[in-house]
């Protein structure tokens, strides 16, 4: 369980997170949606222990990510950020293998190599494995980064806009894989920031909608994805249809 209580975060004079309190139960996919500047990425950074909040508390399965040793935290929670610098000459295989760092700390074991291969297979990266990241397309690079997070083999996965630069097929495949992971026997809990509301509608188990650094709505998909909530969230009218038993959102 991720618990956040009274969380506030200031960037200079600007309050980007305002006294947030929320709980994310383990298992399934929790989607964070909301307009640009709502504070979604800032919230993930605080939960991942990368940005210390101005006030408030974060607990991941009862552990404070800011007082927990770095490697221990990284064995429990993997975080894929939005923008990633590309290291020249870094191959896809080496990038994915970095996901095993929290487990071996620089002394890779055979099981780490196996986990890397498994991640490469899971994201169909075998053919690209020896290519440097700088020659890949944005979408291929994004798959490699998600594969690295997957190889980290943590109970919690935090992904900040992982569908960026992915074509519809690979976006669908990624969300399907996250769905499989989050509902498998060794279930992993996925928290994902999405701008594609229909991807959230199709794959999420729960949705947290944020606006202006606050929680605007949270709950099951059908509870959050209503025309009224979405209009207030994005200041734009939406129609919510039903397709295959799931909401389908279209702008009016």
């Amino acid at each position: 369980m991720i618990k956040v209580e009274g969380l506030s975060k200031n960037a200079g004079a600007v309050e980007i997170l305002k006294d947030l309190t929320l709980s994310i139960p383990p298992g399934g996919i929790t989607a964070l949606i909301g307009p640009n500047g709502a504070g979604k990425s800032s919230l993930l950074h605080c939960i991942a222990g990368l940005d210390r909040p101005t006030s408030g508390m974060v607990r991941i399965d009862g552990t404070d990510p800011f007082s927990c040793p770095d490697r221990e935290r990284a064995r429990h929670l993997a975080f894929l950020q939005q923008s990633q610098p590309v290291v020249p000459r870094l191959t896809v295989r080496d990038m994915v293998a970095f996901g095993r760092w929290p487990h071996h700390g620089g002394r890779p074991r055979p099981e780490d190599a196996e986990a890397t291969e498994q991640a490469l297979r899971a994201f169909e990266l075998e053919d690209l494995s020896e290519r440097p990241l700088e020659v890949l397309s944005g979408g291929q690079r994004q798959r490699a980064l998600v594969a690295m997070t997957y190889a980290q083999a943590t109970p919690w996965l935090l992904l900040d806009e992982p569908l960026n630069a992915l074509d519809p097929r690979h976006a669908h495949d990624l969300m399907r894989r996250l769905n499989d992971l989050s509902h498998a026997a060794d279930e992993r809990s996925v928290v994902v920031v999405l701008h594609d509301i229909n991807a959230a509608a199709r794959w999420a188990d729960r949705i947290i909608a944020m606006k202006d650094g606050r929680i605007a709505a949270e709950g099951l998909v059908a509870e959050v994805l209503t025309g009224e909530v979405l209009r207030d969230l994005y200041d734009t009218p939406f129609d919510v249809l039903v397709h295959g038993g799931r909401p389908l959102v279209v702008t009016v």
């Binding site: 950074h45 991942a48 222990g49 990368l50 770095d70 490697r71 221990e72 935290r73 990284a74 064995r75 993997a78 975080f79 950020q81 990633q84 610098p85 290291v87 020249p88 000459r89 870094l90 080496d94 970095f98 996901g99 760092w101 929290p102 700390g105 620089g106 002394r107 980290q152």
Partner: protein, 314 residues
């Protein structure tokens, strides 16, 4: 493949060193070999220390254009040496035991380097322009302070400072070679031990931290090693700004990898190769004594401009 390329560099350095020692060797052989050996050792030590320091610094800075010299690490060394001469006097400085003096200067550089560059550069690490400007301004300020101290010195003290500050391989203190060699060896072993962690650190602070790397502590360790290596190189022959850039860039091209376990030794070997080959060419083939430092700076500076322009066009 990568390992083989590093071994090629080792072979090239051994062959070149043999050529440097034995080319047109005449009697008295023992004396000439001893002179050439001292010079060869200083060239290898300075080249290796500068190459390794530059790769480490580029990882700390997250930028492959920077060298410790560009952001003022050398200037800090100049400042420390000048301050030492001013406070102890020319004779006091000159009569200090060379090993103790060397160790004190290295310690002072590590301490102040961590304080100044660790604080300022790491804080600005995400903003390249600000980081370079911070470093350059720090360098200018330190050089200005050193110059101010030099202006109020007695001429004899000024001569002592000048002797210490110009890059020359002709007058290396043999006592310092041993301690420099030991420090370089220890720093190289420490750097290689950090190599896998430095690979992760190259991904950037947030990504490395989310992979469980103790990023800030690692960066301080790397900066301390940079300070030791810069001290080794600068104390032996004086400041050389662009040698490291040449060595690190060529090492990356030759190894073709991002892995520090290969790039660090390759940069050390490349730095040594450039200096030994350059000194051999100028001294033995062209009969020029002191042109090496100037030429290395010239070509290193050209490479810096080329890399900046290429980066801008990308």
């Amino acid at each position: 493949m990568v390992e083989r390329r590093v071994l090629w560099l080792v072979g090239a350095l051994i062959a070149l060193s043999a050529l440097f020692l034995l080319w047109q060797l005449r009697a008295p052989m023992g004396f000439i070999l001893s002179l050439r050996g001292t010079k060869l050792a200083s060239l290898i030590l300075v080249g290796a220390a500068t190459g390794i320091a530059t790769v480490l610094f580029q990882t700390v800075a997250g930028n492959r254009l920077l060298t410790p010299g560009i952001v003022g690490f050398d200037a800090l060394f100049v400042f420390i040496q000048t301050a030492l001469v001013l406070s102890l006097g020319g004779i006091g400085y000159a009569t200090l035991p060379s090993v103790a003096k060397f160790l004190f200067e290295t310690g002072a550089l590590v301490g102040t380097g961590l304080l100044l560059f660790g604080g300022l550069l790491l804080r600005d690490a995400r903003d390249l322009t600000r980081m370079i400007l911070t470093g350059v301004i720090l360098g200018v300020m330190l050089r200005g302070l050193a110059e101010m101290m030099q202006r109020v010195m007695a001429p004899s003290e000024f001569a002592v400072v000048q002797q210490a500050l110009f890059a020359t391989f002709g007058a290396v203190d043999t006592n310092q070679l041993w301690i420099a060699g030991a420090l370089l060896g220890a720093a190289t072993v420490a750097a290689l031990r950090l190599a896998p962690a430095l690979d992760v650190a190259a991904l950037g602070r947030d990504r490395a931290r989310s992979l469980g790397l103790g990023y800030d502590f690692l960066m301080l360790q790397a900066l301390a090693l940079v300070a030791v290596l810069v001290a080794v190189a600068t104390a032996l022959v004086g400041p050389m700004t662009f040698l490291g850039l040449l060595a690190a860039s060529l090492a990356r091209e030759i190894t073709g990898t991002h892995r520090h376990a290969a790039v660090l030794p390759a940069a050390g070997l490349m730095g040594a190769l450039i200096l030994v080959a350059g000194q051999f060419g100028f001294e033995r083939l062209l009969s020029r004594q002191s042109a090496l430092a100037v030429m290395v700076e010239f070509f290193g500076g050209l490479l810096f401009l080329l890399l900046v322009l290429r980066r801008r066009s990308v």
